[in-house]
Structures are given as structure tokens and as C-alpha cells.
Amino acid sequence: MTTAESEQSSKLREQIRQILNAQAQPTITVLSSLIAVQDVIHYLPDEAIKETATFCGSTINEVWSVASFYTNFRFTPPGEKTLDVCWGPSCHLVGAQQVLDAVQGVFEIKEEGESPDRKVTLKYNTCLGACAQGPVIAINHHLIGKQTPESAAQIARELRGQS
């Protein structure tokens, strides 16, 4: 690790310690800590695992077992914007697969993940909770319903700055 890298890492550790200490609810656990960190940093860097272990008095192994279990956690930085597309059975029936197809086309990817320029992230979602408005997508947790392949592709292009 270069000096610049280690300086960045210690800054990140400091930020994570602040997030961990700022948790307001009475019950603080490994899971609540990881959720708190990802809410702010948008992913869990190695430093988050180590700091959470220290903070909660757990082992790194225990923290990893939790972090790797819940599918909302990610370990690399996401794009600037994250687009969730629901593929649950309700949205599936009203055309979610075509919406997914269209978004993947614009993002130039074949699975979940970042576009080649790493500007945007596609995330599959099992249910965004607005089934009556399906197919549903969400930009950074803000929901947009009644999508068509065309409307979703347009939104995807705007997110990539290609409108």
C-alpha cells in the first residue's frame, strides 16, 4: 500500500467510526452497523468490515458472514446512480423482463452491475412494494411505475447522460 493509499484508508476508517458511533437506535448490532455504513458510503469497503468487528466486539469472520448473506450489501463502489428493476412475479407478468432487457441494452451489460464507464449501476430487485404500478423501477430508492421498454430505456439513457 502506498502512503497516499494508506492515508485514504485511515480517513475512510475515521469516517466509518463516526458513522458507527452515530447510530441512534438503542439496539446496535453487526447488521445495523453494516446497514448504517452502506447508507452513507453506498458499499462496504474492507475497512467497514474491520471497523464493524472492532466496534461490535465481533470477529472479522462473523462480520463477513453477515455482510455476505444479505443481498443488499455490496463490496465495490456503485455507479453515481443505481437503477433497481423489479423482476418479482407480479412485475414479471406485466413485462418486467422486457424492461430489464431494455435497460441492459442501454447500460451495455448482460447481468447486474455497473456500466462499462462505471457511471450507473443496475440492480435486480425481488419486490419494490408497488405491485399495483408494475412494472416498477427505482432510481436511488425513488420508485417509478408503469414502465415500458421505451420509457425505461429513456430513463436509463438519461442516467448515463446520453439523453
Binding site: 453477515v66 444479505y70 443481498t71 418479482g88 407480479s90 405491485c131 399495483a132 404500478q133 411505475g145
Partner: protein, 573 residues
Amino acid sequence: MPTQFEELQARANKRWAELTEGDSAWIRVGGGTSGQAAGTDAVFDAAKSAVESTGVNANVSMVSAMGLMYLEPQLDILMPNGSRVFYGNVESHEVADIVEHHVQNGEPLTERAFAYSGGDGSGFGNLPELKSMPTVALQQRIATRNFGDTDPHDLLQYVANGGYTALNRALTEMTPEEIVDEVKAAGLRGRGGAAFPAGVKWSFLAPSKAPVKYVLCNCEEGDPGAFNDKGIIENDPHTLIEGLIINGYATRSTHGYVFIRTGHELPIEAARKAIADAYEAGLLGKNILGTDFSFEMEVSLTGDSYVAGEETALMEAIEGKRSTPRFKPPFPAAAGLWQKPTNINNVKTISYVPEIVRNGSEWFKGIGTETTSGTAIVCLSGHITYPGMYEVPMGMTIREVLEKVGGGVSEGERIKVLQAGGPLNGLLGEEAFDTMIDFDAMSAAGASIGSGGIIVGNETVNVVDLLRSLIAFNQFESCGKCFPCRLGNTHMLEILDRMCQNKAKSADLALLERVGTSMKAGSLCGHGQLGFNPIASALKYFGDEIKSCLAGEIAPGGVYGDGTMILPTRTRP
């Protein structure tokens, strides 16, 4: 001297009178997650700026959703004369026009409205009265009684509409035993799917003299097609909080948790605000409403995991671990969260409790069927004319709900298939549509009303394709603890993949059944035990279609009959 609660009520009534009886109009915009997806935020902003620019005397609030999701974004205007006119599918650019005509000139834009209520009785031309609309008239609202009327973020509006009177009554006039007996006598059964009598469950916890006891409220609600738990929390969180405090008192518990999945921002925000406000008003914390009863409550967030909704897995998640199910016994009432005596109830179950305490068990018992009292909170989505969330009395048939409340499918089409009660329950074909909505009748038909979600499919739906999406969901969401579930779901998905690609063999049916049997026998929780349900019910109602697919024919229709469905490949390590 007025009691603490009477003082709270006086403040609440004053607030409500300001909103509904003064010289101001009240513009209420329906909120909620579904509303957000339909574009409510822009409509709300437009309403605020229209009031500002016209200078009319009006309050603007984001209130709870009405549940009529096919009409979202939706707003209504209450005029000082008591008339209320409802506008649906409102676009933000129309709002200024509506406010100008309706509030400024006193002439509602009836051609843009869908219903009215109140007023001097003369009505508004051809506009129907709200309570005459089938989507409203056939409902009987108990847990959702405040929907469309009150601001979920305002404790006083809840109190002004009768809120917390049940808690006050419970704490000052009833013993914990009397409440448990009342809930038992009401015949309230668990709405999470298992249908276990709630009062009986409470009576397991009540006798324990342990110094710390927990009551948990489960709003994990990962079922696609179900949005009523989150719907109650985001639209009327105090109903749930009041119910959970009563649950705590009746079982002599010390702590309550409301358990929600991270990322669902509106329900989380609503629950947190409501709990904070309840503390502030003396409804939570030490010596609630001046009585001897003390009770703490907080929101616990889980990560994305469907199995976290299973009761013992839920306790693991609150403890901050991987949400995998525990062995039973010990049962939660003996050793639950942090090994302390614990009760777990679904959001809907708890949300009925205030009205049961307020109106008595006889009243609740009088609604619904012999074996299932009360209502079902049904979520309709998919190929249905009026998608939404509707609270109907138990005992209505599925067909009535679909056709009378949901408006059926478009003319010339036919409903072919339903997915009811979440992805671990069955598909239903037309023969089952005359089944009564009631726990026992539904379970005899091979389905469950459990979560209340009904996904509707018309004739274009390919049953094998729908099955694959359900099994893909179950495979993705298996927690991995029990290998029959982890591997069984993967194996079933592989077979369904082959079926969709026209590569299946007739022997695959026997293989599916064998896998299903192992899953049922060898899994700790419902995720594996019930995992074969979708296929079993599809064989019952759509056996010919499945068999012709196994014989090498692909049924017409379906989303991706050629087998190129996009699905996650990730499983839990």
C-alpha cells in the same frame, strides 16, 4: 382535572377542527409507496405552489393513500361547506387548474373528478358518491379505517379520529388477562399466513414472570404481490403502534420491535416518526399515560432476505446475524429474541387489535366467517382493471373480489391464473375462483390468503413461465441453511428452465415430485417445506398445460417462451 389522555385528545380535536371546520379548504394528496411510483410527489409540489400563487385559503397535506391505486396520483379537496371532491390520475400540470376552479371559484372540475362525499346533499351532477363506488362500497375498513383521510405523520390526526382510546381503555379499565381473553374471543387469527389464533399465542407469553420480554411485529413482507403490511405502516403507523403497545401490556412485555427491510424508505420513515411522536406524547416509555405500565419500542432494520420473515430467522436478524431459521423447540414464547420470552405477530394482526379493544370481541366476531373473523386486506396486481389494496370482509369469494372490486379484466379477456398468498403458495385456476376468502376454505383449495397478495394473470400468461419466475424467486431467496431447500430449489429451477426451452422429458415430472418431497421432509422452515406448492398447485389446475410442455410442446403466450429469462445467478455463500 383532565387525565393525560384527555389533554392529548383536546389538543387533537382542536387540530382536527382547524383542518376540517375552519374557513380554509383542505387539499389532501394521497401518498404512499405506490403513489410515489405513480408520481404523487410532483402532484403534491404542484398543489403547494398552486395555493401559494393563487393565494387561496387552503391547507395542503400529503395524507395516507386511499388504496385505490388505479386512480393514483390522487388528490381531494374538502371545502369549508363540508363537500369533498376526489380527483384521480392527476397530472402535475393540471393541479393549478383544479385549485383555481375548485378552491378559488368554488366550481369543482367535475369532469376530472371521480367521486364526491359530504356537502349539502345535492351532489355534483353525474359524479358518483364515494361510498357508492364498488371499489369502496364492498370494503369494510378496520385496519385501514383512516386511509385517505389522515396524515400518517401527524399523531394528533390519528388521536382525533379515535386513536389511542383503545390503549387508554386497556391500561385504565382492563387487566392483561381480560385483553388476552378479548382477543381470543374475537377469533383473531394471524394474518402472516399461518392463521394461528393470536389470543392463544399471546397466552403462551403472558404467564412468564421474566423481567425482559419481547413482542415483535413482522413487516418483512418480501412477498411479491403483497404490499399491505408496508401499506399499513406508511399510511397509518399509529394503528400498528397502538396495537403493539396493547400487545405488550396484555403479555406483560417490556420491549417491542417493528421489523422492516432496509430500503423501503416510506414505511421506515413513518414508523420511526410515529414511535418518536408516541414517546413525546407519553404513549411509550416509562409510566404510559400516567399508569404503572412501561414499554419501549424501536424499529429494527433487516437486510435483503426473504427468509428473514420467518419468525426465528427474524429474531436472528434483530440480533444482527444471518437470518436463518432456528430449530424449534424451544419455541419463541419460551426462548426467543436473545433467548428471552418472545411473541411475534404480523402487522395486519396487530393492526386489528385497537379496534377489537375499542368495539369489543362480539363486534369483530360478527364480521367475516364462522372460522375466520374479521377482514382480509387484499392486494390486487397484474392483469386486473383496478389494481389496489382493499379491505373486504372474510367470506367474499375470490370471484367477487376480482370482478366486483377489481373490475375484472378487459372486455373479451378472461382471467386464467391467480397467484395468491405469496410465492410459497399456489397458483389457482378458474375452478377455484368461487372459493371463499377464509383461511380454511383457501387452504382446502391449495392456496392461502396469508399475505393477501393476489397476482392476476390473463390468457396470455404461460403457466410454466410464471412458475419459473416463482421458483426463481424461491431459489434466489433460499437462505441456504438446509440443503434440501438450497439444492432442491436450484434443481427445480433447472428443470423449469429445460421445460421453457422445450428440452424437458416426461420423466422430469417424477423428478420434480421427488425433489419436492425431500424439500418438504428436510427443511427447517416454510421456505423449503412449502417450496413445492407452486408446482403442486399448477399440476392440479393446469396439469394438461404442464404435461404438454413436458411432452415437448410449448404453450402459446408467456413472457419469454424461448427460455431467455433474465434472472439473478447469485446465491448466498
